[in-house]
Symmetry: C2
Subunit: 111 residues, 2 copies
DNA sequence: TCCATATGTGACCAAATGGTCACATATTAC
DNA sequence: GTAATATGTGACCATTTGGTCACATATGGA
């Protein structure tokens, strides 16, 4: 049911540092060292984050000599939207209304 | 920068069991005991998941006597889409093309 | 060649996570 | 009142997570 292969992507996106890395990569590919300069944590922490993003296919890696260029791959984000988030669209407004109705009619039994 | 208050929601959505709980609540509110019957894990595990979902405001709780009715609140999902995911829309197709161009022109220096 | 640069690996650690259970509380039914 | 039902609390535990570091490897430039 949830085995759509997007588990690693969901997991990768749960961390704010990783979401910020993706935000940086939106403006174009960057080397690992370049990315590290934008964060307070160590290079090793960023490398671990990049590894998690790479396994989730949210980052594609191109090696050029001694540099590692990290590219954003937005496809898994699109899939998360299509396969899960879009299914909640009709509830965005409805969910609050349904709660309101139910609370107001505590004695009713419709449903 | 990432302090839009949606951190707990991102975190809550990273777990497949919790996403499945929300999927079940899409069809209408349910009591905790009713939800537990749909899962293999213990009632306590589900209660912890519900607590995390409640803190993330993805589940709203209405207490009726000894029952606890869990309601889906899709608003944080909408906000995650609006404030983060929608910003990647233009990259869904472009990201793969950009990578392709860059790899093909390894010697070029445009950018 | 020799050195600075850029990235990779493995060990290690504290804290968070997801799970269990025993037990307590509160409400409905008889 | 008493018993069954529904949920809540706290302790506990194994694993994962996010972080550190020392050290190794690989590449480009003088």
């Amino acid at each position: 049911m949830d085995h759509d292969g997007l588990g690693p992507a969901w997991r990768a996106l749960s961390d704010p540092t990783r979401r910020r890395i993706l935000d940086l990569l939106k403006h174009g590919p960057r080397t690992t060292g370049d990315l590290c300069e934008q964060f307070d944590v160590s290079r090793f922490a960023i490398m671990k984050h990049l590894d998690i993003l790479e396994r989730a296919r949210l980052v594609l890696v191109e090696r050029r000599g001694r540099e590692r260029w990290n590219h954003l791959n937005a496809v898994p984000i699109r899939q998360i939207y299509e396969r899960w988030i879009s299914g909640y669209q009709e509830h965005w407004a409805a969910s609050l209304l349904r709660l309101k109705r139910r609370i107001e009619s505590k004695t009713g039994k419709e449903q």
